[in-house]
């Protein structure tokens, strides 16, 4: 649930709750008040009618001033005191049932008990209540609705910097952006957040840079001693006399040195890709590159392992990229397919649908997808494998926003590059 909806929902529930309580409560209270008023008016009848009635009795006149709403009659039985009650009566004029409030009181007039009955229509009062109630409801709804809208808009406005910050954070890449530029807000909390995040980004970037620089410097600085070592070993080979034992030792040293040099070269390449030092871009014909590798550069390697290669290159892909990087990508994929293949195995290469797929035999179990794309993950048995090939391929794909996928089906290891903005 979104933060905004959550806060607004609280308000909404409270408002409905209040409305549901307030309206009946108001109705009942108001009705009580009005009934009380009516009752008081009825009670007052007794007092103000007494002089009139007494005068009429002493004059032996008829109670001509009485109407439908009031009657006076000599008391029968022993009725005492006052009683108030409500009765619904059908009104012939209004043609409706109308509630009436009655009072029946017994009073002594000139020593004789009389019963006075008086009624007051409650219709007007009910109407009044209804009208007020409707106003009340409209008012309340307007008030709460207004509050709700204002609150929502205010919240939106208040949280806007938050969403802006979120958006910026989402797009922040520690590799490329030195600083995180967040919008300034007038709100202290958000400014704190902004400053903290900016500092965090700055520090992360610094750490990233220094780590990268370390790899870069280490690789570059290693080149000279490696070159010296290689030179001295070659000089050592020329010395005589040289016995077989010494020759073997030199040979093994040379092999180790060779691996170290290749490792170093690959690390430098990785760093260069990460530093985006391959800026030159051109239109690269993928089919052309693949054909060059399988029919020219790698033919002797394929022959030596007796690998059968089947290429489906009917549809071509033109890429806008750095030629060297695409060549490295293809050579790494094909190189892996050759190196990790069995004697007499096969390789399938398919270009089409914006995809480059390389399938090969090899180990009969699936590779660990969590590990293959990380540095120095290698087939333990192969001393020639550096464990950097796939990492380099992945870095190239990352650079150009290509998807790099691995799957294992029917005994084939399959690596696929999905080119995002290529023209098929």
């Amino acid at each position: 649930m979104k933060l905004l909806r959550k806060t607004v929902r609280g308000y909404l529930i409270y408002s409905v709750f209040i409305l549901l309580i307030a309206i009946p409560a108001f109705y009942l209270t108001f009705q009580q008040v009005l009934q009380h008023e009516t009752d008081e008016e009825l009670m007052a009848t007794k007092i103000y009618m007494r002089p009139k009635l007494e005068k009429a009795i002493s004059d032996s006149a008829a109670f001509h001033f009485l109407d439908d709403y009031m009657s006076v009659a000599p008391a029968t039985g022993n009725l005492k005191g006052d009683s108030l009650y409500t009765v619904d009566i059908f009104d012939t004029i209004e043609k409706d049932i109308i509630p009436f409030r009655f009072i029946r009181s017994t009073i002594d007039l000139k020593g004789k008990p009389y019963v006075i009955t008086r009624r007051i229509s409650l219709l007007e009062k009910e109407d009044l209540i209804k009208t007020i109630l409707i106003f009340q409801i409209i008012l309340l709804i307007l008030l709460l609705g207004g509050l709700f809208v204002i609150n929502r808009r205010l919240s939106l406005k208040i949280w806007r910097p938050f969403y802006l910050i979120m958006d910026k954070l989402h797009n922040y890449r520690v590799e490329t952006q030195r600083t995180l530029k967040l919008p300034s807000t007038g709100i202290t909390e958000f400014n704190d957040l902004k400053n903290s995040l900016e500092n965090l980004a700055e520090r992360s970037h610094q750490t990233f840079i220094s780590q990268k620089e370390f790899t870069e410097n280490a690789s570059h600085e290693m080149q000279t001693p490696l070159a010296i070592m290689r030179g001295k070993l070659e000089l050592l080979m020329q010395t005589s006399p040289l016995n077989e034992e010494q020759a073997n030792l030199i040979d093994e040293l040379a092999d180790a040195g060779q691996r170290m040099m290749r490792l170093n070269k690959s690390l430098i390449l990785l760093t260069k890709i990460e530093n985006n030092q391959f800026q030159d871009q051109e239109t690269v014909d993928l089919k052309n590159i693949v054909e060059n590798f399988i029919y020219k550069q790698y033919t002797s390697q394929l022959e030596q392992k007796r690998i059968i290669i089947s290429a489906d290159l009917k549809s071509n892909i033109q890429l806008h990229a750095n030629r060297m990087l695409i060549e490295i990508l293809v050579s790494n994929l094909l190189g892996n397919a050759i190196r990790h293949n069995n004697e007499g195995g096969s390789i399938y290469i398919i270009i089409g649908n914006n995809l480059l797929t390389v399938k090969n035999n090899g180990r009969t179990t699936e590779l660990d997808t969590n590990k293959i794309f990380t540095r120095f993950q290698k087939d333990g048995t192969d001393a020639n494998s550096l464990g950097l090939g796939l990492e380099i391929a992945r870095k190239i794909c990352d650079l150009y926003h290509y998807q790099f996928l691995y799957s294992f089906t029917e005994g084939f290891h399959q690596f696929t590059v999905q080119f995002s903005h290529a023209n098929d």
Partner: protein, 224 residues
């Protein structure tokens, strides 16, 4: 033949001198830009090995001055960067070759030999070892004046070993020379042994002496 090595890493230049002296090259050393410039101005060399990153300037600048002075030396650029831009710029400025660090001394020696041959003999280059003749332009081999049919790889292999005659050339250096960066794709040196076997067989059948000797499996030596 005189070679100037402009390289600030003394140990590396000493190795180079050591290796090249056996080829009867006379080597001069310069450790920085200034010394390099003085030596180039004062003497004539057959070949200059130029490191790009010198402590007091760029080797490319030195190359520019050298070419501006109309010097005819062959120049091989040596760079630790292995960047395409440096390579292109260097070759555009008139360098004859480019070698990235770390390199095999045997590779360096072969490249120097090629550059000097181009410069001094105007490409009219035929290497003769008794009955064996290597024609570098036509890329053909003659044994007792009879042409020998070799594959491109076998020719390269023979030329590389002959360019380092009487020196042990390591397996790694040969593999790299034959396959470039792709040498690592082979699980072992079988491809090298296969080419070597074919080459030696063809030479023997043609009546050539067995000049190529294996040195304890460490490398090969073209012995005269």
């Amino acid at each position: 033949m005189k070679i100037l090595i402009v390289e600030d890493e003394r140990e590396l230049s000493r190795s180079m001198v050591s290796y090249l002296q056996k080829e009867n090259y006379h080597c001069d050393l310069a450790v920085d830009f200034a010394e390099g410039r003085t030596k180039i101005e004062s003497f004539d060399y057959d070949c200059v090995l130029l490191d790009i990153s010198l402590p007091d300037g760029s080797g490319l600048q030195l190359l520019k001055e050298l070419k501006n002075d109309g010097k005819m030396e062959g120049v091989i650029i040596i760079s630790a960067k292995n960047s395409l831009d440096d390579r292109i710029e260097g070759l555009n400025l008139g360098a004859d070759d480019y070698l990235s660090k770390p390199f095999h001394l045997s590779e360096l020696s072969a490249r120097i030999a090629a550059v000097i041959r181009r410069k001094r003999f105007q490409g009219n280059t035929v290497l003769v070892f008794n009955e064996l003749t290597i024609d570098l332009i036509a890329k053909t081999i003659l044994v007792d004046q009879k042409p020998l049919d070799l594959t491109r790889k076998e020719f390269d292999l023979l030329l590389y070993l002959a360019s380092n005659k009487n020196r042990v050339v390591s397996k790694n250096a040969i593999a790299e020379n034959l396959s470039g960066d792709d040498a690592h794709l082979y699980d072992n040196f079988d491809f090298l042994y296969a080419h070597m076997k074919n080459l030696k067989r063809k030479l023997t059948i043609a009546g050539c002496n067995d000049y190529i000797k294996s040195v304890y499996g460490m490398g090969y030596k073209f012995t005269m």
